[in-house]
Symmetry: D5
Subunit: 133 residues, 10 copies
């Protein structure tokens, strides 16, 4: 019976489809304050590189902006670009952190992924960046 499902393995894209270029920043008017900004979405989705099946997660992006904020619509398109990319959960979270740190140069950033259970086991990943002083 398994053979039928192997044939149906979904095509997945490689990392090159992660659309880093769509990301856009906007000027932040209160750079001297240590304001915390958080974006939360229940709708992140990527694909398991081994089975080709979707991995769905709640995503939290928390940071202290320096001079820039991420523009929300560009963030949505950036996150949606993972939808058909085959990538391990732990690597996806770290990759999002790296791309946003490069864009925003924040004082602090933390990305949290809470993935729905697979085989009865849910996964939660917390990746952090802190600017050296």
């Amino acid at each position: 019976m398994t053979d039928k499902y192997k044939e149906r393995r979904f095509d997945t894209y490689g990392y090159e489809k992660i659309d880093k270029e769509v990301l856009e920043s906007i000027e932040y008017e209160y750079p001297e304050k240590n304001t915390i900004v958080e974006y939360i979405t229940n709708e992140f989705s990527s694909v398991c590189p081994w089975t080709g099946l979707p991995d769905n997660a709640k995503l939290t992006i928390r940071y202290i902006p320096s001079k820039k904020l991420v523009e929300l619509k560009s963030l949505k398109y950036y996150l949606t670009s993972y939808r058909n990319v085959g990538i391990l959960q732990e690597h996806a979270i770290n990759r999002i952190l790296d791309d946003l740190v490069e864009l925003l140069q924040p004082k602090f950033m933390e990305v949290i992924g809470e993935f729905q259970e697979r085989g009865g086991i849910a996964t939660r990943i917390v990746a952090k960046y802190e600017k050296e002083k």
Copy 2:
């Protein structure tokens, strides 16, 4: 600014990618009883035909089997095949109902989709089938 996003419009598939053939049934040993069977998933996903953006939903499939049960793994692959199909929410729910009624010939079936909000408005759809007596 909108132009950039128009260029990035995601390719969506047509209805022909809905994988009805993967569905499989198994014999049900208690056909004389009016047993209620329900499958619930938080991870249904299709694509809006107009914007190319994902539509995520909680799906409930409730039925009174006659002689057949749907095989769960085949159901998972069937539902996953909607992932990149452009289809209106109301039509997706009715289509799932039609495909499963054709497969199982149940005494009763109900498919419920609870879609995450878009523009601040969430949508809930309940489609029903009742065998004529």
Copy 3:
């Protein structure tokens, strides 16, 4: 002290600002079924005609479509047009029902408003329409 607030009374619009014209319908492909469709938003807002202060509500629109569905984006703009209109809660709910029944000619429709408390008292209103047979 009250005088200061009287001066600051917010301007409110009359019923003519309720934007019924923006509403648009789309063809529904399963008119023969008694499918239930529901839209839910936590963000409805109108203005108390006496105090000029906002009245916020959770709104549920539930119906059995006949030949038409309401287009979601047009619904959002229609509901947003109440934002600065001075209208009693009970009347707003009945007015929404009337406008949507006129647009969609559904088999059944129900509009529910759950307004946040004022003076410690919350209000819930359920208005219904049923097509004569």
Copy 4:
């Protein structure tokens, strides 16, 4: 030790302090519909006639208006007038029902009181009125 508390027994008012006169109605513009209107407050309070101690409750008033709605501010003042009246919980709920039925002549009315526990026992009372046809 009990004597001290007996001395401190709070003065309670009789039924004559229930301020029925403050109640005001407003015209309802949709009398032909069977619209359901509900008012909910967590802050109703009266006094136990035997101990002089406060009885606090969540109150729900549900009705189908005929030609009148109760004005919300007058309702608040009416309910607040029970604050120092000594009255059994079961009688308070029935009295509220009677006063509002007299004022509004509704098609249907139901008053529900959910009183906080005394001696580890919470009390819930549901009193109903239905217009004879």
Copy 5:
């Protein structure tokens, strides 16, 4: 190791300790209405007749009074009198129903016991009385 616990078996009382005499009724002023009255406590406790160990439950007593209400303080003492009585859960619930029906002659009464789990299994019992017409 079990022997030690057998020795320590708690003494339990027989049914004669159920203090039916403490129950008191008060006049109800609205006998013509079908008002529903409910008492809810999380603190009912009796003892398993076989193991001598406590059985704890949430208890709900719901009725439509005819001419009498049960006095709340007397109800508390009545329920507390089960504390050291050895009685099966199903029988306790039915006994409470019988004692209160005898006292109050209500139009309807229902007693619900929701017992904490034993051996991983919780028990819920619903006993009902309806006056013959």
Copy 6:
């Protein structure tokens, strides 16, 4: 990589290990009443006959006893006997219903199984028995 897991396939027992003999009934003292009795456990477990992996469920057994109650400790041992039996979820629920109906001859019985998700899909099954009159 899959081969390693195939080798490790857990041994499962056949239906003959379902320990119907352990079940015991006790006399019920209120057979003339239509009392509802419910047992609820979060800890039911059987094994998928195809993968050999555990299937865990919340189980609710609801009935109106005629002359007998099931003894709770014997019920616990009966349910635990499914722990290593390979049986489809739908069949397990119907089998439990049949064994208990045979033992107790109730007026009515309903067994509900709410199984934890597999492949992102949870399953709920409701099997019913009603005595012919």
Copy 7:
């Protein structure tokens, strides 16, 4: 179809409509204590400067007063004055902080905005002020 909505773009006000003058303080009688005072509302609303659509939020204002408290009614009118102002969420939160710090000269203040999701992404912002010692 978009054109229709562009025409309907809501007029939004500039920052000059933020009614800082309405704010009023009252004397605080316990200035020597480090008492924490918090105001929480679910009903804050401003307007997105780009789309003209409402942005709704839960707002928490937490501070340690020095010599003054904000008068609650004046705070309500101040917050309501944002209702039709076009302002970025991050800037609104910082602006509220600045206006209240200027009014109250507190020892510490923190303003938290939890905005409802847009495009499936909710935003939470925490802005802080601490008096230099």
Copy 8:
């Protein structure tokens, strides 16, 4: 319309009705330990000095006793004595702290009031006392 409500302004008492004398302490047998004791009630009520309308709160009193505990019944009567006193929320919480610190001389005490919303704004106040060492 407001005039009617002005006439009905409730009489409120001054601070002299706060019944500090009713408070009683009992000996604490474990003064050498840093045990934390907390009392929680959902039923605190005082009156707004400006409008004469009730202010209801959840109250938490947390302390580390030194040699005395407050007697619970006397605490209840003390708290109930605020029922008709006109006092600002922030001042009520600090006053309760002062009275109990004077009575008990605790190592630490904290009083928290969580007041129900007025004008859509809820208030939470935390007042603290710490013994000097």
Copy 9:
């Protein structure tokens, strides 16, 4: 009316009925680790020494074992032995702490009692022990 209840005052036992002897320890195999062990029960019950009425609580026992664990069945019998003992809530919690510290010689122990409300006031007590180093 009170007299009747005075007569019915429940007999309560003295401290000598607290069954410290039933407690048993078992060897702990990981004494070098700082493992935290917690036992939680919703079913603790003792009796108020003044009124003879039951006091029910949720109990949490948290410790870092040194060389011994408490045997769970013996703990259950120990806790059940408080059922008819008249003891102040604050003293019961401290007494349980002392008995278990004597038995187990843990590195750290904390006992928390969350008692159901009496007179509308719930009580929470946290008693701690820390081994001197």
Copy 10:
């Protein structure tokens, strides 16, 4: 009656059935970061060595990976291998910690078991490992 249950004592396996060999690690691409990884399952099950009855738990495994991640499918099979092993709850949690530390050499690891109540008492165990620096 107990004898019958003694005969039915379930066979349990010894520690040698804990399938440490099935565990597999995968390379982690971000070893320089202090990323936190967590796996959560509601479906852990082992057997009480004294009664032969199942012990069910929620399990949380939290760690900071150094160079390796545990492969999720191998983790599932490892955890499932405890299903028929007789082992004390406190020892099972410590054993899982030891096996995973040996496999992954993480910078930090914590295993938490939250076991369902037995005899009305639930158990929670937290075992920790921290790499020496």
